[in-house]
């Protein structure tokens, strides 16, 4: 390996391609890379740690860009389950749709999904910003702890179920809200945050006024003695 023209799944194995991307030295000036024929392989671009830019031309499988730090990853296609799972920083931009659990447990950075995200988008997220230009499936934002979700379309059943301190901005309608998730009042800093996210996602057809804010009612935070019979 060693040659970037071999970042092609028809010519090389996942392990070799990932190994190359994970070990790019700082002295190497090649910072714009293209991965070809991903063919739905799992864990493509998982564990990248450098400030490089990787384009993936095609559809990817599970856990694409998992644990990412600093890298900018663009997927010219759809992504499978667990896109950017446990990502720390950097950016992942999917031009198509994303499957279940996009951005699960992710600590930082940004995920932009141009299409729809499936169920459990942002499950247990811990600080990432997730921008979905389409809609999200059921149980999105489940137990989400911090960070922000901006959803331009609708949300499926039980949005933000058992949510902690993640804030969800939704332009469409939720099919239903999960336990302890409520609509909240917008403040100045929310307006600033939405404007920033719209800019990051290059979203021009929507304005701040189109969004509603959802978050935790914080009723599950403490044990309530009146509920003892439920246990």
């Amino acid at each position: 390996m060693g040659k970037i023209e071999n970042l092609d799944f028809k010519k090389n194995t996942l392990r070799k391609i990932n190994n190359y991307l994970q070990n790019i030295s700082y002295k190497n000036n090649k910072r714009d890379l293209t991965v070809k024929n991903p063919s739905g392989h799992h864990a493509i671009c998982a564990g990248l740690t450098e400030n490089i830019s990787v384009k993936i031309n095609g559809h990817v499988g599970y856990y694409c860009g998992g644990m990412n730090q600093k890298a900018h990853i663009t997927v010219n296609g759809n992504a499978g389950t667990g896109l950017g799972e446990n990502m720390m920083s950097g950016l992942i931009h999917v031009k198509g749709n994303a499957s279940q659990s996009a951005g699960a447990t992710a600590h930082g950075g940004t995920i932009i999904i141009d299409g729809d995200a499936s169920s459990r988008c942002g499950i247990s997220m811990k600080g990432i910003d997730i921008i979905v230009k389409g809609s999200v499936g059921h149980m999105s934002g489940f137990m989400a702890q911090s960070g922000t979700m901006l959803i331009c379309g609708d949300a499926g059943e039980a949005l933000g179920d058992s949510i902690y301190e993640t804030i969800i901005y939704l332009a469409g309608k939720p099919k239903s809200l999960g336990v302890d998730c409520v609509e909240k009042k917008m403040h100045k800093k929310d307006i600033k945050k939405i404007e920033d996210l719209l800019k990051t996602g290059k979203i021009k057809n929507l304005k701040v006024k189109h969004f509603k804010k959802f978050g935790s009612e914080r009723k599950l935070y403490n044990f309530n003695i009146d509920n003892i019979s439920d246990y």
Binding site: S39, G40, H59, G61, N78, G80, G96, S99, S119, H138
Partner: protein, 295 residues
């Protein structure tokens, strides 16, 4: 885990490639199910007056079996592939199946009908596909399965697809939690089961509902209230196939559709080798929604 695949061809000129495409799909799904594999091929083209009985010989004496069958039934054609045979005969299911059960208890009937042929075996899917020469099969549509065993033993009886009615079959990714109860109810209604497998019960349930003159769409919609557990199903008939995911939708599925074909699989990588797949309409079936294709 488990991997499921389905391919429905919209153009007759592609019928000769059905097996070739499906073998690639099963091959790519062997990572999801290394224990056993099976597939059902639907081919309506062959001689109409015949029934086709797919039998797994379980290493039983094939020559003695062939002689016996040829002696006792008229106009018999036997196609032998690996440890399976497909018997073509005008004999009705009632007559033929009871004869096999009476005289060859070690042989399992894996499916029968005017159109369907089923093959299944224990082992790595990549090997199984080769043993059955799947790439040479032609037909209009096909369903396949690679199994990671959870609910029952790694045997041919525990392998998918399950066929519990004429030209019907089912593959399943997931597991059911009320299959024992449902099996008892179906046995009371006259259904027979060969294994302790949960999917066989779901197949029996679907056959039972279809025989009550319910459509596939209606039948699968009723699954949502009667089957407890998690599942992605592909259910086939001689007309086409249908896909259903339970409402929680833990089990994955992806569909690619274009002018030539509809491909369904647990993961996109199963269909990455299909022609023009990247330009197809690719989407995930929504939870609790029945999708059907066919005449």
């Amino acid at each position: 885990m488990c991997g499921i695949v389905g391919l429905y061809l919209k153009k007759k000129k592609l019928y000769n490639k059905l097996g070739f495409y499906l073998s690639g799909m099963l091959d790519n799904m062997s990572s999801r199910g290394p224990d056993s594999a099976g597939f059902a091929i639907y081919n309506n083209k062959e001689i109409k007056k015949y029934y086709k009985y797919s039998l797994c010989l379980n290493k039983a004496l094939s020559s003695g079996f062939e002689k016996d069958i040829k002696k006792n039934f008229k106009d018999i054609i036997i196609k032998s592939i690996s440890d399976h045979v497909v018997v073509y005969t005008s004999a009705t299911p009632k007559k033929f199946i009871s004869y096999i059960q009476r005289n060859f208890s070690e042989i399992s009937l894996v499916g029968y009908g005017r159109s369907i042929e089923i093959f299944k075996q224990v082992g790595n899917p990549k090997e199984i596909v080769k043993k059955f020469k799947l790439e040479k099969f032609a037909g209009s549509h096909a369903i396949g399965h690679t199994r990671m065993a959870t609910e029952s033993a790694i045997t041919v009886d525990g392998s998918h697809p399950y066929s519990t009615g004429e030209d019907e079959c089912l593959v399943h990714n997931g597991s059911l939690s009320n299959h024992n109860n449902l099996r008892r109810q179906l046995i009371k209604q006259g259904k027979n089961f060969d294994s302790l497998n949960d999917t066989e019960v779901a197949a029996g349930y679907i056959s039972q509902k279809l025989s009550e003159n319910k459509s596939m769409k209606k039948t699968l919609t009723e699954c949502l209230s009667d089957l407890d557990g998690f599942y992605t199903f592909i259910a086939g008939t001689n007309k086409g196939f249908a896909v259903l995911r339970d409402e929680i939708a833990c089990k994955p599925a992806v569909i690619a559709e274009n002018n030539d074909y509809v491909a369904v699989a647990s993961e996109f990588q199963a269909m990455a080798h299909l022609p023009y797949v990247n330009k197809s309409n690719i989407y995930e079936p929504k939870p609790g929604v029945v999708y059907t294709w066919g005449k």
